[in-house]
């Protein structure tokens, strides 16, 4: 293949891209990158709604029964709705579309050398099903009786009969929206797994795929395997509500605890469905900015799979005091301890990755480190919840709220932003402003802790969750200042996000154009030039498949001979191309089956894992 041929393909690709027109390009697109952006947009829109609900909720907690500016006074019914919808939105309509929908769709094909997802139309159906779910959930705010108010966990009998909450259609639509959301992510999950299994470029073995892909497909597998019981549970709940069955009605032999088992059998894996993609993003960012390989790639892959497996046998630690047989507590306490092993491994490996590195504190790295620090904090407070006797006291209190915000919020926020700042140049072809990014990070870190750290204390002091007015409890009156501090922290954190919004808007319009590989990373998605979507993989890519190989010369890494200067810029900034035989040449212009190893040279640092191999194949028909 020669340069002219490559150029022709590129030009064709551009023409083809333009020929698709507005609707097929931006709305009904089957392009995984556009679908990723659609998921991202929907997720960010929901973040705004979820954050707004949280702010109103915090106002009520700090200054109970005073009018919320721009909203009015909220009563306990509305408060319960806020609690419920905040949780539902943040988990299912923010965390999942951004971390799985956006990152997964965008990264998996690029990182494994595939042109798109295995089922592009199913992918489009997935995002549109999610859009429909979003619409249903949004409409549920405006039906008579308001939106669901039985908690994001929706425990029956409270959720099973409209009379108990006063919410009828709001809760039915809540179930419907969840069902559609599950359908969307089932389609997505099937796609992720199939793509990662069958569309890896030749040579991209499972132990060579980037870590975030492992995390994404583990998350997808967990979701596929765990959601079935919950869907069954949700169908029963909907039947109980609409046609008067009694799966959860104890008067006629139903059992409310059945729902809790089904919900948490899904719920605990679901926590990892959200956590793992964020963890994956951080695991990609840390090595790049430490200029070192990830510490123990294979061990982390193993740990991830083990954690995924164990997540199916820990669910009852959410139910220690639920009224299930108390003898079950100890076995589930033990499994809960076991699941800390793989996560302890991953966390320590992240720290070890920094060891003897050459650490650059760019914004993505700051967010990755923020995730690491906050996640350690959340992991440690988890022990208070995981120990059955200690959980008797701390469960159902704000201590739990603090704990899961330190884990989940840190995953979605810090992990998500680490990924967003890191891959933004790839997604939009522009660099985000570093000073604004750093300002965003530091303010977020400070106000995150102002918001959530004191919640540990008020939880230990005995404040239970989901109460609209703490002042109704004598024991809590002296601690009301903590609620005020947390609320002020929330408002400041929300305001801080304006810095982010400003940064994104300004950068999209006037940001510095991103170079091919701005962070000097060595994963495959950075191999192609940026900018226009159709040009994704650069001159080589429309007919060449990139793959990585891990070549470890006997006797450890050694310096490879410098590449002969080839025509044109190399796909990876400053990279040298060396083929397996050791004769240097630029494989982009090599014909047919030739192979080459890419060793990115980054300033004065070598990043040698994984070596990249370019594998040019004839164009796909």
């Amino acid at each position: 293949m020669n340069q002219a041929r490559a150029g022709t393909i590129t030009a064709e690709a551009v023409e083809h891209h333009a020929a698709r027109g507005f609707w097929r390009t931006y709305v009904f697109s089957t392009d995984h990158k556009m679908i990723a952006k659609q998921y991202l947009t929907l997720g960010l829109a929901w973040t705004f709604v979820g954050g707004l609900l949280a702010a109103v909720m915090r106002w009520q907690l700090a200054w109970p029964d005073t009018a919320v500016p721009g909203w009015g006074e909220i009563g306990p019914e509305v408060y319960n709705m806020l609690v419920t919808m905040h949780g539902t939105i943040m988990v299912f309509f923010v965390a999942m579309p951004i971390l799985l929908g956006a990152f997964g769709n965008f990264l998996i094909p690029l990182m494994i050398g595939a042109r798109d997802m295995a089922f592009p139309r199913l992918n489009m159906l997935s995002v549109w099903t999610f859009a429909l779910a979003s619409l249903v959930l949004f409409v549920s705010f405006f039906v008579p009786g308001g939106a669901a108010s039985a908690g994001w966990t929706g425990y029956p009998p409270l959720s099973a009969r409209p009379a108990y909450t006063g919410v009828n259609w709001g809760l039915n639509l809540w179930i419907l929206a969840q069902a559609l959301e599950f359908a969307a992510f089932l389609m997505g999950g099937v796609n992720y797994l199939t793509t990662a299994i069958i569309l890896r470029a030749p040579g991209m073995t499972f132990l060579r795929v980037p870590m975030v892909v492992w995390q994404q497909i583990t998350a997808a597998a967990l979701f596929l395997l765990s959601v079935g019981p919950l869907i069954a549970g949700a169908v029963m709940l909907l039947l109980d509500r609409t046609i008067g069955t009694s799966f959860y009605a104890p008067e006629v032999g139903g059992d409310p605890l059945l729902w809790q088992h089904l919900f948490w059998f899904f719920g605990h894996p679901e926590v990892y469905v959200v956590l793992l993609p964020a963890l994956g993003a951080v695991l990609e960012v840390l090595p790049v900015f430490s200029r070192k390989p990830l510490f123990g790639y294979r061990w982390i892959v193993g740990a991830t799979i083990v954690a995924g497996g164990l997540s199916f046998i820990v669910w009852a630690h959410h139910m220690f005091i639920s009224g299930m047989d108390p003898r079950l507590a100890m076995p589930f306490s033990i499994t809960t301890i076991l699941i800390s092993v793989p996560f302890a491994y991953i966390v320590f490996a992240m720290i070890a990755t920094l060891w003897r590195g050459s650490i650059r504190f760019a914004t993505p790295m700051l967010f990755a480190l923020g995730f690491l620090a906050m996640f350690i904090m959340g992991g440690l407070t988890g022990i208070f919840n995981g120990s059955a006797p200690s959980d008797i006291y701390v469960s159902r209190t704000y201590f739990v709220v603090a704990h899961f915000h330190y884990t989940l919020f840190s995953a979605v926020f810090f992990g998500g932003f680490a990924g967003f700042y890191f891959w933004f140049p790839k997604m939009f072809g522009r660099m985000l402003s570093e000073p604004l990014g750093k300002l965003h990070f530091w303010l977020t870190l400070v106000f995150f802790n102002v918001t959530f750290f004191p919640l540990h204390h008020i939880g230990l002091a005995g404040m239970v969750r989901r109460i609209a007015n703490p002042l109704q409890y004598e024991a809590l009156v002296p601690y009301q200042w903590i609620n005020v501090v947390s609320t002020v922290g929330t408002f400041c954190m929300v305001a801080t996000q304006l810095v982010f919004a400003l940064n994104v808007v300004w950068s999209l319009v006037a940001g510095r154009r991103a170079p091919t590989n701005p962070w000097e990373a060595n994963t495959l998605e950075w191999a192609g030039p940026l900018a226009a979507a159709a040009l994704e993989l650069g001159p080589c890519a429309p007919d060449g498949l990139l793959r990585s190989v891990r070549v470890q010369p006997a006797g450890g890494p050694r310096r490879l001979p410098p590449a002969e200067p080839g025509p044109g810029a190399s796909p990876i900034g400053g990279a040298r191309y060396v083929d397996l035989c050791g004769s240097a040449r630029d494989p982009r212009y090599a014909g047919g089956e030739s192979r080459g190893v890419v060793v990115p040279r980054v300033g004065d640092h070598d990043v040698r894992r994984p070596y990249r191999e370019l594998h040019c194949l004839p164009p796909r028909q």
């Binding site: 620090a373 006291y393 469960s395 024991a475």
Partner: protein
């Protein structure tokens, strides 16, 4: 402020001290780990920040000899976790599984949005004419184990006595048993800890712990004929 143990409300039950002991042990262990891990993190960030002329080391961390640097702390974590669990097992059994013998049993039924407190009366049996029901208040003597039968009428509620370190969900259709023994007379708040509807906030009762003589007096007032 920083010592979390000081934030727990005063403990007035016999098993509360054991639970606090577990929480305290976890607190010490987690604080130690917090400083060790974040300290290591901070040290690495300072020591290995980018500096001119210094290159990152090429360490893959895949060989067992390298991975041991991570595996050893992981093993320590597991041992500590197991130790905490073994420490907790007898406490859990004491609070939730075993129940000391007593002649005072009270049935508490959660309903939207009240606690129905049922005393069996002098005959000690529920369902007889001398049963007596109170709303949102419990009276118990100090220094005597009290059995509680937890029930719920409509939705799930959760019986929470912060000062006693006792929490138990009440599930409609199930009869769940529990117990506590007070060590100090006084008046203690009893909030509902599980979202149970629009009246969840403010659904609370009071537990009155009386000295023995005062309790006898209260019993006499309630059942004057007995």
């Amino acid at each position: 402020m920083l010592n979390w143990m000081q934030w727990l409300p005063e403990n007035v039950s016999t098993f509360g001290g054991d639970i606090d002991g577990v929480i305290r042990t976890i607190w010490y262990v987690t604080v130690a780990w917090f400083f060790i891990t974040l300290g290591t993190l901070a040290a690495f960030l300072i020591l290995y920040r980018r500096r001119a002329g210094r290159r990152a080391a090429y360490v893959k961390g895949e060989r067992l000899r390298e991975a041991a640097w991570v595996l050893v702390p992981v093993v320590v974590v597991v041992i500590l976790d197991l130790w905490l669990d073994l420490l907790g097992a007898p406490v859990w059994a004491k609070v939730k599984i075993e129940r000391p013998a007593t002649d005072l049993t009270i049935q508490v039924t959660g309903k939207q949005f009240e606690w129905e407190v049922l005393y069996p009366g002098p005959d000690g049996k529920f369902g007889t004419a001398d049963d007596r029901q109170l709303l949102d208040e419990l009276h118990v003597p100090v220094g005597k184990p009290v059995h509680i039968i937890f029930k719920a009428k409509d939705v799930i509620h959760s019986f929470f006595l912060p000062n006693f370190r006792l929490k138990q969900d009440m599930v409609p259709g199930r009869t769940i048993e529990g117990w506590f023994e007070a060590t100090k007379p006084g008046k203690y708040e009893l909030p509902c800890a599980e979202l149970c509807g629009f009246g969840h906030s403010g659904m609370k009762g009071w537990l009155y712990v009386h000295p023995p003589a005062e309790y006898e007096q209260w019993v006499k007032e309630q059942w004057p004929l007995a």
